[in-house]
């Protein structure tokens, strides 16, 4: 598989699209838009997985794609939308990094990932090298999002998009057993569940989803 081949180009295109959606996630201010961007990212991830299944000839990955589409593309976004509706957060505008700073930070992170990954994986196949760089960028951008956001739901979305990066990495590497992906998917579901419950609890107790309000209630306050 080389540059110029269809399978190579398409998988890069899909991986790059996932990364692009991570950038989009980074500067969205409205909760609804964040969830929509996340749903799109999940769908793109599912497509990347399906294409990888086709290109690598591993039918197991179709299952991964199906799971990603169902869970990340549909179920979790729907649940989050419902959460937002019930908590009445439609109009919330929250602080996020502006377009400029988030772009700069993101590009710097992506550059860093490429600088690290490409020399470190010199012996590996071309495809997995660059997919790894993309996946790692998605992971780091997800982390960055978790740090910059104050809202609990946005933080959950950041965590989930971080998971997307992991799945992308797992899909790109040929020969990864399905068990890993299934267990990762199960883990993500559990996290989403716990996060949802957690968000409800915060809301009930403190009337806000700003995790900063938790600080006052920590023990060992000095």
């Amino acid at each position: 598989m080389r540059f110029g081949q269809l399978s190579y180009d398409l998988s890069h295109l899909l991986g790059g699209a996932v990364l692009l959606l991570s950038f989009v996630l980074l500067y969205q201010r409205r909760i609804g838009a964040v969830i929509n961007a996340f749903a799109t990212q999940g769908t793109l991830l599912a497509m990347a997985a399906a294409w990888a299944a086709y290109a690598q000839g591993t039918p197991g990955l179709y299952l991964t794609a199906l799971l990603a589409l169902a869970v990340k593309g549909v179920l979790i976004p729907l649940a989050l939308h419902r959460l937002v509706r019930e908590l009445n957060l439609h109009r919330t505008v929250e602080t996020a990094l502006g377009v400029g700073p988030s772009m700069i930070a993101g590009v710097a992170l992506v550059g860093l990932c490429i600088l690290v990954t490409l020399p470190a994986t010199e012996g590996a196949r071309l495809l997995s090298r660059e997919t790894l760089a993309l996946a790692m960028s998605v992971v780091l951008l997800g982390m960055l999002m978790m740090i910059t956001r104050r809202n609990a739901i946005s933080q959950v979305v950041g965590l989930l998009s971080l998971e997307n990066g992991l799945i992308l990495a797992a899909v790109g590497v040929a020969g990864m057993p399905l068990v890993v992906e299934l267990s990762t998917a199960a883990l993500v579901l559990m996290i989403a569940l716990v996060a949802g419950v957690f968000a409800f609890q915060i809301r009930e107790r403190f009337d806000t989803l700003d995790t900063g309000s938790l600080e006052e209630h920590r023990g060992e306050q000095r």
Partner: protein
């Protein structure tokens, strides 16, 4: 013989393991202490047999991955088995006398392991085995010091002791590494083949002085000793002062006389002489000022360790200057003093324990007049204190006299700087001996003479049985060693040959002396003279006294009569420990020990009393630590701040760390 001693070490370790079931049995404690006491006397016997017989080596069938554990018994280790064995034997006997009913396992378990560690250090013939024994000794004694976790003072003592023990072990380890060089073989035979020279030898000596010297109590690393030795139970204090310091001195002697080769220059001895003299003065001065009997004795141990170190350093210097007869003299003084000190210091610590048991206090200000209630203890303590004060004809005098003779002949090393330095060391050693005498007079007088200062001291009870024997045995040995130092030095002749490199002169039965034509000391005639003088004085006093003895009330120095609620007189009517120490504290304490005195006078018309506050503090620990505690506090405060971070900041920290690592990786990959 060596096989038997190795088996004894194994049995002691097994005894330590058996301490847990023994602790539940009613007589378990007595059994364990009795067995340890027996082992102690067997060790001393083994030392004598080892000195009379030849050297032996033994390779154990197990050991570290790179080879067997090697044991050896030569004259030097045999000699040091004597102080260790006698001290442990007497201490074990005392513990046997004081143990009733079940004893908690944490008090029993470390004790035989402590002894086994000391013996293993003495028998070791490779660096690994020596360090194993040394660390077992350190850790077991630490466990015994830390046993009483209730007192904040004891906790601090245990903490500081652990720090110093760790530092010492580390330095010794580095010393062995430096000595072994690139080859990395730490068997003594291999180390002897490749003696260090020049800067490497000096570095090994510095590490040795920090490692074994801190364990022995050489200044300025002596600060843990007056804290840790008194914190342990009495028999452990006695063994720590009597035996453990000797094991550390043995390690020093083993390094400088054996492992570092015979061709060291004479100036290698100067650090030992200088540090030893400083240690002796500091220790003796503190002993003269302390107000707690066990702390006082621990400080006196520091003084004696300093004197022994001076002897070892002199022997090294004489050997380097090719004066073997003088090296034998100085080495003989050091070895003899090691044995004498082990015996009389064990005795004195056991006396302090007996007093603590009988009168329930270690503070000199709460004791007094115990000679009436505890006569055996008092007379045994007098023998020990007189030996520690180096009065003839007791054992301390013989060895300190030899040491001073060696110091006085040091001008024969033809280097003017060395001669000047040794002259200064001589005055310091003499000053230390005088201060130690003052300390011992104060100790014995305040504890046993005068009137009781508390009701508890007035009702003190003396132990009988094993505890009394444990006092009488070292007291008798102190007398014997004082009267017959000649045969003891003859017994040490093989060890002296190892120290000086040539055959040492025989001392004979009745006299010891500084070589042919030098000064001589005949202990038995001196003892007869002293006895005659004392007898004459007693006879004269009796003769001139009127017939019949009348006991009247003690003169209270002109104070008004004590109120009725002080049936034993006003305690303030007697000199206190601090008052007794005041002249020395004013004279020497201000410069050396940061002694201070403040008087708070009431203003005119006020009715409150004037207050005199005085005290001293050894500045060594603070100087050693330097700004370290402040840095630790600052670092702790900074680390504390991390706990107050919010969730996002915590995540940010992780994120930053990941990004930093990745950047580092990219940078390394780019290079």
């Amino acid at each position: 013989m060596l096989t038997a001693l190795a088996l004894l070490v194994g049995l002691l370790a097994a005894l330590g393991a058996a301490a847990v079931p023994l602790a539940r049995a009613a007589n378990g404690g007595r059994l364990l202490h009795g067995a340890t006491a027996l082992a102690g006397f067997l060790l001393a016997a083994g030392g004598v047999v080892g000195l009379l017989g030849g050297p032996a080596t033994l390779d154990l069938p197990f050991g570290p991955p790179w080879g067997p554990m090697r044991l050896a018994l030569d004259a030097l280790s045999s000699w040091f088995l004597l102080p260790v064995g006698l001290s442990v034997g007497c201490a074990g006997l005392f513990a046997l006398g004081g143990a009733y009913g079940p004893v908690p396992a944490r008090d029993l378990l470390p004790w035989p392991i402590f002894v086994a560690g000391m013996v293993l250090t003495l028998l070791a013939a490779d660096g690994f085995t020596l360090l194993l024994g040394f660390e077992a000794m350190s850790l077991a004694s630490w466990a015994l010091v830390a046993r009483d976790g209730a007192g904040a003072e004891n906790q601090r003592a245990a903490r500081i002791y652990l720090g110093f023990a760790g530092l010492g072990g580390l330095c010794l380890m580095l010393g062995f590494g430096l000595l072994a060089g690139g080859a990395g073989d730490v068997a003594f035979a291999a180390l002897r083949d490749d003696p260090p020279e020049g800067a490497r030898a000096a570095a090994v000596l510095a590490l040795l002085l920090a490692g074994a010297g801190s364990k022995a109590g050489l200044a300025p690393l002596h600060v843990w000793l007056p804290l840790a030795h008194p914190a342990a139970p009495t028999h452990v204090s006695a063994a720590m002062s009597g035996a453990m310091t000797k094991v550390a001195l043995y390690v020093i002697a083993r390094f400088i006389f054996d492992l570092m080769g015979p061709a060291q220059p004479f100036w290698m001895g100067t650090p030992l002489i200088a540090l030893g003299a400083a240690t002796a003065v500091i220790g003796a001065l503190r002993a003269a000022l302390e107000e707690d009997s066990k702390v006082l004795l621990a400080c006196s141990t520091i003084e004696n360790v300093g004197l022994i170190a001076v002897g070892l350093g002199l022997a090294l210097a004489f050997r380097g200057a090719d004066l073997p007869a003088l090296a034998a003299l100085a080495g003989g003084a050091a070895l003899l003093h090691a044995l004498n000190h082990a015996v009389f210091k064990t005795l004195l610590f056991l006396v302090a324990g007996e007093v603590l048991h009988g009168a329930l206090s270690r503070r000199l200000d709460r004791l007094g007049g115990l000679i009436h209630r505890m006569p055996v203890t008092a007379w045994a303590a007098l023998i020990g204190a007189a030996a520690a004060a180096s009065l003839p004809p007791l054992s301390g005098f013989a060895s300190e006299w030899l040491l001073l003779q060696a110091l006085l002949t040091a001008w024969r090393v033809g280097d003017i700087a060395f001669q000047m330095g040794v002259a200064a060391a001589t005055t310091l050693a003499a000053l230390a001996a005088a201060l130690a005498a003052a300390a011992m007079v104060r100790f014995w007088g305040l504890v046993f003479l005068g009137r009781p200062r508390t009701p508890r001291a007035a009702g003190a009870e003396e132990s009988t049985g094993a505890a009394r024997i444990a006092l009488l045995v070292p007291a008798g040995l102190t007398l014997l060693l004082g009267l017959f130092p000649g045969p003891v030095l003859d017994l040490a002749e093989p060890a002296l040959r190892l120290v000086s490199g040539t055959a040492a002169p025989r001392a004979g039965w009745f006299a010891i002396g500084a070589g042919d034509g030098g000064a001589r000391y005949w202990p038995v005639p001196v003892a007869l003279l002293v006895a005659a003088a004392v007898g004459l004085a007693v006879w004269l006093v009796r003769r001139r006294a009127p017939a019949g003895v009348q006991r009247g009330p003690a003169w209270d120095c002109g104070f008004i009569a004590a109120p009725p609620h002080f049936p034993f007189g006003d305690p303030a009517g007697q000199p206190s420990a601090a008052g007794f120490a005041q002249p020395l504290r004013r004279m020497l304490g201000q410069g050396l020990l940061a002694a201070h005195e403040t008087v708070t006078m009431p203003g005119p018309g006020e009715t409150r009393a004037a207050v005199l506050r005085s005290g001293f503090a050894d500045p060594a620990l603070e100087t050693l630590e330097g700004p370290l505690p402040r840095w630790r506090e600052a670092a702790a405060a900074r680390a504390e701040r991390l706990r107050a971070l919010s969730i996002r900041q915590c995540l940010g920290l992780t994120f930053g760390a990941v990004v930093l690592m990745l950047a580092l990786l990219a940078w390394i990959g780019a290079r």
